[in-house]
Symmetry: C2
Subunit: 216 residues, 2 copies
């Protein structure tokens, strides 16, 4: 993530949304609908007599979308230009149906925070968030916290601790904050809390300041 393109706590001292909010655009509406399909597919009755027709309809939609897709190399340039950077990632991206999506705000104290309620596609143990999904979310949140803190980097190491099960179907609060920059080494911490405010998962991350080239 190129810090220069993003608001930081220095440039925007007040509470600021750092992720791309869903826009009133066709691709946002189509992605939100795809997200509903993913969730409903896990919930629908396995004996639903129309599932083969659903498969046909979804394949027909995929065919159509693919017919109107540029070459991947060309599409990548577009994805990574301008504001595109935060629109397609698998955690906050309104254009990525895999993303819950999480919306993150930058706070005045230099931390970032968001709330999210996860459903069956993100399940690990029965009724709980998959431990790997928690680490996926926290890795991303630390990256956004670094951008907000003013110094971004590539993940070198993540240490994730699981304190108690993280519940599905309950509003979770996700937080991240850059705590130190020592030369090229950036230390950042974060956690996921349940609705009662208890820490379910915490993370410490070490990032290395390194420029990431964009496609062009």
């Amino acid at each position: 993530m190129k810090v220069g393109d993003h608001p930081t706590v220095e440039t925007h001292p007040h509470r600021t949304v750092l992720t791309s909010a869903p826009q009133d655009a066709p691709v946002d509406r189509a992605t939100a609908a795809a997200r509903r399909v993913i969730d409903a597919m896990l919930r629908t009755d396995r004996g639903n007599a129309n599932l083969d027709r659903v498969a046909e309809e979804l394949n027909s939609i995929a065919d159509h979308l693919e017919e109107h897709a540029p070459e991947v190399a060309e599409r990548m340039i577009d994805m990574w230009s301008g504001e595109g950077v935060t629109r397609h990632d698998p955690i906050t991206g309104p254009e990525n149906a895999i993303a819950p999506p999480l919306v993150l705000e930058g706070l005045e104290d230099g931390s970032v925070q968001g709330v999210v309620t996860l459903t069956l596609p993100y399940q690990g143990p029965p009724g709980c968030v998959h431990g790997g999904v928690s680490s996926l979310i926290l890795d991303h949140v630390l990256g956004v916290a670094n951008a907000w803190g003013g110094k971004a980097g590539m993940t070198a190491q993540l240490n994730v601790r699981y304190h108690k099960p993280t519940p599905l179907f309950e509003q979770l609060t996700v937080t991240g904050k850059q705590i130190s920059v020592d030369g090229r080494k950036i230390h950042t911490v974060g956690d996921i809390k349940n609705a009662a405010g208890e820490v379910c998962v915490s993370v410490e991350g070490l990032f290395i300041d390194a420029a990431v080239p964009r496609p062009r």
Copy 2:
């Protein structure tokens, strides 16, 4: 994961598939089609004039699936009974459109291994797998390695190290192996290698032997 229900290297000394292979069932076909939609949605031209119609069609499919969905509590009992356990997780589940899906085999040396090629929905830095996606996959692979090793548990700690960028659009090999069981503490390691066999991401996990109740 309840070890008793799963093959282990003791009970199945030869190479054995540990994940649920996609079946020739309507829900598997519909989920595979949903996976195509997720991918194609990220690739299609943002100016595609039919995206609003795609949104309508997807919402109509979601409405239908939801109309035929039992209450979540009832559905959960079904999800977690019998073989269901590995059919819906977000990494290997053929019924979960978020899953790539990864297929894992248990090998005679006690390790588990699978290959996967990831595409745009799993992107972090340009052209690379999101670091959090790598940790999601590795957390799950360690869990399967524990089941194969004969002693499963809940994740207590994950230490993920990022050695080099993990490429999209290239066959990756994912491996996990339980290395020690010390009382209730289980140590398990794993990694993701690129097509050249270089380690991109490695992980050490600490798991605690604890029974997880299933819904009933």
